[in-house]
């Protein structure tokens, strides 16, 4: 089973939920945690994994052989991203705009374009106790997260209960991360920002046709509008976590909630059971 942890709004507690869920489940079977928040991965701070392997993530970008090139302009014509410009005597490539689709090299009538790898990030693979761990890291200054997400998702081990930590938002990196999940937990908080962004995240999941439930974090200050919305939209609230300085303090030190306060393990196991029931019903 693949469970993704997403949110719309950032900083609502995805990392807390992902790491505590993984740690709670580790004694009951094989667990894998995959951190797909490749712009700002944080799960490793809490799980302190031992990395055994590191792989570069690259996209293929065009390299033009000026000897063979007749400057016909076909490459520039087929590039949807304006990543290649054909001048009268020279072809210019703009690597930061290239998506690596390969159209230019395939369609060049002179066979003058080959492809070279451009590194955009890395994937690190290892383990934390019995938890299999992997995360992707987008290189600083790079734009394109999806290739790194695709690469880290190739490591999904179908024998495990897989937990995927997703970046905030609703655009392409989020879709890329969530796609293929059996269930998605949406972590939010009881504030107008939390509600607004939860509504957007729910729309994403409906578009992808993936069932979801809510984890409501920092319950205490705030209002009841997230709960009212969930009731109206028939979205189950599967776990609530109170606003608590002790929880915030453990989080600030990189200590997983279920290690700081072990009784939370029970709550996360119950959460998993609820998800399990929903997926299998």
């Amino acid at each position: 089973m693949i469970i993704s942890i997403a949110s719309g709004k950032g900083g609502t507690g995805k990392t807390l939920v992902a790491t505590s869920l993984a740690l709670s489940l580790k004694d009951n079977g094989k667990v894998q945690l995959i951190d797909c928040d490749v712009e700002e991965p944080n799960d490793h701070i809490f799980l302190k994994p031992t990395f055994t392997k590191k792989e570069r993530v690259s996209i293929p970008i065009p390299k033009v052989d000026e000897e063979k090139c007749t400057h016909c302009g076909k490459c520039a014509e087929v590039c949807a991203y304006n990543a290649i410009a054909a001048m009268k005597k020279k072809v210019l490539v703009f690597p930061e705009l290239c998506h690596g689709c390969g159209a230019c090299s395939y369609l060049c009538p002179e066979d003058a374009i080959s492809e070279i790898d451009k590194e955009v990030g890395v994937v690190e693979i290892g383990y934390s106790g019995s938890i299999q761990f992997a995360h992707g890291k987008l290189n600083v200054g790079e734009v394109m997260a999806p290739p790194v997400i695709r690469k880290v998702k190739e490591l999904i081990n179908p024998e495990c209960t897989v937990i995927i930590d997703v970046s905030p938002g609703t655009s392409c990196p989020v879709v890329e991360s969530i796609r293929g999940s059996d269930f998605c937990l949406l972590v939010t908080e009881p504030t107008p920002f939390g509600l607004n962004d939860l509504i957007l995240a729910v729309e994403v999941l409906r578009k992808l046709d993936i069932p979801s439930g809510v984890v409501l974090n920092r319950v205490g200050v705030g209002d009841k509008k997230v709960e009212e919305y969930c009731l109206r939209e028939n979205i189950p609230i599967l776990l609530t976590i109170p606003l608590d300085t002790q929880i915030a303090s453990y989080y600030s030190r990189g200590i997983p909630l279920v290690e700081g306060i072990p009784k939370w393990r029970e709550h996360f196991l119950e959460l998993f059971e609820k998800v399990n029931e929903k997926v299998n019903s």
């Binding site: 395939y106 200050v221 300085t245």
Partner: protein
């Protein structure tokens, strides 16, 4: 005209609450919400939209079943695994048009995508440019660029002093699009190991694009040891730690009432944000 962009790396550190307060304090400015896939600033500013525009960007492939001979070439060459069983999954398609260009039966059409909307609004604090990226859409970077462009036009036309931009979390495409060419970045962090880790990366992006940065630690008293660590880190990077804002539930209370915290209360949080803006104002004047 000077442009401040507020970023954080990690989400939920308080960018929008701070920008909302700057909106209330700063006198001559246009506001830009560049968190186009989960925009929240409008919730604090209660805008009246005066102009709404469609954002058409990119394309998706569509296969004409009647013309398709099911040769499978499109599926073979697609690097985004967007074609299965002679159908295109529009959420995977990156609109490269490779399939369109190679289809021997001319059975593939490229259709323009309506990827979102952008708005010019009036608020009690001045003009706001904001946007809504379509659900699960691409090209957020281009929509961010459009929001900033229009904020600039308004700033010039109305002779305003500042553009104050609320940025998205992360370090990727929309962040780089929000940051490049700005005069100053305010990096809002929190004293957690995650916050510190993410601050280091987003500061790296600022260095990469040559934008000077200031750091603000929000909820600094959650973990004062970590706050000291951030202070040391900033020193080592030659970056000013411009502000330490205490944890106070009043920020959430103000938010529930859809008000910038500086308008809701005049306690320590508000005074600290006011001091921070004065500091930024001087830097922008520089």
């Amino acid at each position: 005209m000077k442009e401040l962009v507020v970023l954080s790396g990690k989400g939920g550190t308080g960018k929008t609450s701070i920008v909302g307060s700057f909106a209330a304090i700063a006198k001559s400015k246009v506001l830009a919400d560049c968190d186009v896939d989960a925009a929240d600033l409008h919730l604090l500013l209660n805008p009246t939209t005066t102009e709404e525009q469609e954002f058409w960007s990119g394309q998706v492939a569509l296969i004409d079943e009647d013309k398709c001979t099911q040769c499978g070439l499109c599926e073979d060459i697609c690097r985004f695994e967007a074609i299965h069983d002679f159908k295109v999954d529009p959420t995977s398609c990156e609109g490269c048009g490779f399939c369109y260009n190679v289809c021997p039966d001319e059975a593939i059409e490229m259709r323009d995508c309506l990827s979102g909307h952008w708005f010019i609004s009036q608020t009690r604090y001045g003009p706001l440019v904001h946007a809504k990226l379509g659900i699960a859409e691409e090209n957020s970077g281009k929509l961010v660029a459009l929001v900033r462009q229009n904020a600039k036009l308004i700033c010039e036309k109305e002779g305003l002093e500042h553009i104050i931009t609320d940025g998205p979390p992360g370090i990727g495409c929309p962040v780089i699009s929000s940051l490049s060419g700005a005069n100053l970045a305010l990096l809002v962090t929190e004293p957690t190991l995650s916050g510190i880790h993410d601050l280091e990366r987003v500061l790296g992006v600022c260095h990469h694009f040559g934008v000077p940065a200031l750091v603000c630690v929000n909820k600094y008293d959650i973990n004062e040891e970590n706050t000291r660590h951030i202070e040391k880190f900033c020193n080592s990077q030659g970056v000013e730690l411009a502000s330490k804002i205490p944890l106070d539930n009043i920020v959430t209370e103000a938010l529930i009432r859809n008000l910038p915290v500086v308008e809701y209360s005049h306690n320590g949080v508000s005074r600290e944000i006011e001091r921070l803006w004065e500091n930024i104002y001087r830097k922008l004047k520089g």
